[in-house]
């Protein structure tokens, strides 16, 4: 039914409504805000990765002329120990509060110890130098395997392992050990004709959004707080500010500004509660805090370093009959790595009757791990996709055929529990199999001695639906003012306006979309989990149905008939011989019952997982270990591409981000836990020169649960690149990589040169 839908707006490529502001420099991002009496803040951070804080003396800083407020852990009331779902994961407010502002312990290099507001940022910086902190330096825990040892120093003394649901009895860094079991994995391995077992190690990486975190807030004399910030989730921010500062939810308003990238790293608060606490102390003047790049890398974001052991067994025909994974992810200084999602991703694309996954969440003295585009997925898929290719080679089967033979389909039960609905993984493999790229010869190396290889890999991501609200006003000229509440991080206003226009039969240009805030529009979950085009698109559709129903009433009043007698086709309302267009009717609202405004709030369901299969050609310089990506093609089940350019853009961006993780990116710590590469020179993200064009193949298998067939597209493209690249390196030089990043040093190590 959905397959035969014909669209007027969906599938076109209009220009985004916020476009002109964004190419002329007028768009207001978080750091661009100016307010009367604005003060500027700076944050003091721990120079130690692990220390006890004996005392913090701010008296000299407070006396510096121009300083208006100084805050420390003493200004933060004890937060509730409640753990709730927020953003793309869970948030424990006590740990959130302690992460925002240290109390008695500094838990990573860069942990906030105090903050200052002053009349300008330079005075605030001078004041930081006057704050005296007495630290007792402790031994840091920096490695996931060492952290798991019984004799390791313990980061958080209160933590007890959640061991398969039972609480442990002694202090530990292992926050939890979970297990998924399917069938009888031991017996199945005993029957396998071929078994491959490998270990993988991956480094800590960052989302790398170009806009540093920022937060501006006023704490008013009436106790209310207004915050302006770049956030993926205004409502989660509001909840966090409310919990941490003990202000009722309705007294907190979060106004999302334009946001300069997030990728999961801007789901939770860092600076907003500090700005509000400073404002409260600074005579209720507004305070703006922004992070430097060094602070962004030291104290926000990263996603987990990991160690994984993957074992897979197949029968002679190439059917995978058993799979086992042991996975340990670094959580950073507080529990909550994306290990659960990693455990879902690792075998997500495959079907087998026997599997076991043991997975551990491990605390270390690094910043709290945050969601990062398909959290926990890229490294997990890296491990599995290398093993699948190894298995295929040992069986003499083409890697794509191996995936077609073993690929998950509707009705298969995933190792971690859920049974797949109408998914479309195999279609992405077929798309690569028939692609121009896969069917052309490998390019020649650019230099004698270099080797060129081709590799494929697949990936799965779960996708989220979640809660979305929106409202609309019908203007007398027939245009629609549309307020939505999901953060627009890359063209969402356009994608949602298109869905509303399609629903009510108007042109894209007739919809004027705007992003609301926590006070002006109903509740919205985060822009995360690839949910917004799906969930908020559903809200746009429902909003459109409500608008149609209201317009039917007005047409009925015009013709003195019942609303059910009014037929609607596109933008034409008719009853018998009488007909009127949406625009004409909008001009007669006052004569037919008065103005129209509608709103919806939905708890959407029915998001479907998506799959991607990608192929890469790489040139390996065997003397230096340098990799050059020569060609890349990414196929993905996108459900229905609402705005194909933005879907392609998500795929291209995800692939390049995944290649950065695969090739270059990694946190480098010294033995004391100091981050050594806190700059964008040393934390090496891909540049335009590093990459070729990224070709995309949009496989459209509509989601029957969504009025327009949408599936989330933003995350899954980052899942396969590391595995695909490792498999291409093997094709080039016959070496199976088992470490991320696959930078020149690690490639030379794998070759055996160093």
């Amino acid at each position: 039914m959905i397959e035969t839908q014909e669209f007027k707006v969906i599938g076109t490529r209009p220009i985004r409504p916020d476009g002109i502001d964004k190419v002329t420099g007028r768009a207001q991002y978080g750091a661009d805000i100016k307010l009367q009496g604005l003060l500027y803040g700076r944050v003091l951070r721990s120079p130690h990765a692990h220390a006890r804080i004996r005392s913090v003396d701010v008296s000299a800083a407070e006396k510096l002329p121009g300083v208006k407020a100084v805050i420390t852990g003493r200004d933060f009331p004890a937060a509730s120990n409640e753990t709730v779902h927020a953003g793309e994961g869970v948030v424990n407010f006590s740990y959130l509060s302690e992460n925002l502002m240290a109390q008695t312990r500094a838990l990573y290099h860069g942990h906030v110890v105090a903050a200052v507001a002053a009349v300008d940022v330079h005075i605030a910086e001078e004041a930081l130098k006057l704050i005296k902190v007495d630290y007792e330096v402790l031994t840091p825990v920096l490695d996931v395997i060492e952290a798991m040892r019984d004799d390791s120093p313990v980061v958080l003394q209160e933590v007890r392992t959640d061991e398969l649901g039972e609480k442990g009895t002694k202090p530990t860094n292992i926050a939890s050990h979970g297990r998924h079991d399917l069938g009888d994995v031991d017996k199945a391995f005993a029957n396998a004709a071929v078994i491959v077992e490998r270990e993988f190690v991956t480094g800590t990486v960052h989302q790398g959004y170009i806009e540093p975190q920022n937060g501006t807030a006023i704490s008013s004399m009436d106790g209310s707080i207004t915050a302006w910030t770049s956030t993926q989730s205004a409502w989660d921010e509001r909840r966090e500010i409310s919990e941490v500062l003990k202000v009722p939810l309705a007294m907190v308003r979060v106004i999302p500004m334009e946001i300069g990238g997030g990728f999961g790293g801007k789901l939770n608060a860092y600076l907003e509660p500090l700005a509000a606490a400073l404002s409260r102390k600074a005579g209720h003047q507004p305070v703006k805090l922004t992070m430097s790049r060094d602070e962004v890398l030291k104290a926000t974001g990263p996603t987990s370093a990991s160690v994984m052991r993957v074992k897979m067994g197949a029968d002679k025909s190439g059917r995978i009959i058993a799979a086992y994974a042991w996975m340990a992810y670094e959580a950073g200084a507080f529990p909550g790595s994306p290990i659960g999602a990693g455990a879902a991703v690792i075998f997500g694309p495959y079907r087998f009757e026997n599997a076991r996954i043991d997975y551990y969440d491990v605390i270390v003295n690094k910043p709290k791990a945050q969601a990062y585009r398909a959290p926990g997925g890229t490294n997990a898929a890296y491990a599995a996709e290398v093993v699948v290719n190894d298995l295929a080679e040992k069986l003499g089967i083409d890697p794509l055929e191996m995936r077609l033979k073993n690929g998950a389909r509707q009705g298969d039960r995933r190792a971690d529990g859920p049974t797949y609905g109408p998914i479309a993984y195999l279609e992405t493999i077929e798309a690569i199999k028939v692609s121009a790229h896969y069917n052309s010869p490998k390019p020649a190396p650019s230099r004698l001695g270099n080797k060129v290889g081709r590799g494929v890999a697949s990936g799965y991501w779960g996708n989220w639906d979640g809660r979305s609200s929106a409202s609309a006003v019908i203007n007398s000229d027939g245009r629609v003012s549309y307020l939505e509440g999901s953060t627009d991080i890359g063209g969402l206003r356009a994608s949602l306006a298109m869905q509303l226009a399609e629903t009510i039969g108007l042109k894209y240009e007739d919809i004027r979309p705007m992003m609301g805030d926590t006070q002006t529009v109903g509740f919205n979950d985060a822009t995360g989990g690839s949910r917004s085009t799906y969930g908020s698109g559903m809200a746009a559709h429902r909003l459109g149905l409500k608008i149609i129903a209201e317009m039917q009433k007005h047409a009925a009043a015009l013709w003195d008939v019942q609303p059910e007698q009014v037929n609607v086709k596109g933008d034409v309302y008719s009853c018998g011989e009488k007909a009127i267009t949406f625009k004409e009717l909008a001009g007669q609202l006052d004569e037919t019952g008065g103005p129209i405004s509608v709103s919806v709030s939905l708890d959407t369901k029915g998001a479907l997982p998506t799959f991607a299969t990608q192929v890469v050609d790489v040139e390996v310089d065997v003397e230096t270990g340098k990799l050059q990506i020569l060609r890349y093609t990414a196929a993905q089940d996108v459900g229905r591409a609402i705005h194909p350019s933005y879907v392609e853009g998500q795929i291209q961006g995800g692939v390049v981000q995944g290649l950065g993780w695969a090739m270059h990116e990694e946190y480098v710590y010294d033995k004391d836990g100091h981050l050594l590469n806190g700059s964008l020179l040393d934390y090496r993200m891909p540049t335009a020169l590093d990459m070729p064009m990224i070709d995309t193949i949009l496989v459209e298998v509509p989601n029957p649960n969504h009025p327009f067939g949408v599936k989330g597209v933003g995350e899954v493209p980052i899942v396969p690149p590391a595995g695909a690249l490792a498999n291409a390196i093997y094709d080039a030089i016959g070496v199976r990589m088992n470490v991320l990043p696959m930078n020149p040093r690690n490639v030379l190590k794998a070759i055996g040169t160093i």
Binding site: T24, P65, D120, I210, I489, Q652, G653, T687, L689
Partner: protein, 159 residues
């Protein structure tokens, strides 16, 4: 507080006089003193290019230039690209969906303008080479490179 210095400069074609502290960067002056917030701070140490501006026609990271160094010079920011209509680069960035979050866009536009003034007919490789000082984390660069090539073609046809 350090003493402020009076600086005269031409900014986007307009004569301008402003006060700034010797320690303030040109980026800080543009954003905080002159209210031109189109140039963005992404790293404040010359690695990301989000603050790119033209100084006497030369592409610079405004975070690495002091405000006082602008004395007597001419500065072009993203706010100065469009006249009554968008610059071809701006329009091609929109038509080619070359921005997602848009935070790097002002820097890319200014850098691309500098490129096309030097080289009106760049190859894909030349575009990638010239823009390697500007980081984008959203797009994977594909659509940015295509937009710059399309703008170059359009500008050549008009010239």
């Amino acid at each position: 507080m350090s003493r402020k210095i009076s600086v005269s400069a031409t900014i986007n074609g307009q004569e301008n006089e402003f006060l700034c502290e010797p320690r303030q960067s040109l980026l800080e002056v543009l954003r905080d003193v002159l209210n031109l917030t189109g140039a963005k701070e992404g790293c404040n140490n010359g690695n990301c290019g989000a603050c790119s501006v033209l100084l006497d026609g030369v592409l610079v990271n405004s975070c690495l230039v002091l405000g006082v160094e602008a004395q007597g010079r001419s500065i072009t920011t993203v706010e100065g690209l469009a006249g009554d209509e968008l610059h071809p680069l701006q329009r091609q960035f929109l038509e080619n969906a070359a921005l997602q979050c848009g935070i790097c866009t002002p820097g890319f536009l200014v850098a691309s303008k500098a490129l096309l003034e030097k080289n009106p007919n760049p190859t894909e490789h030349e575009v990638r080479y010239f823009l390697a000082g500007n980081l984008c984390r959203c797009t994977g660069y594909d659509k940015i490179v295509k937009a710059v090539m399309a703008a170059a073609e359009e500008m050549r046809a008009k010239a």
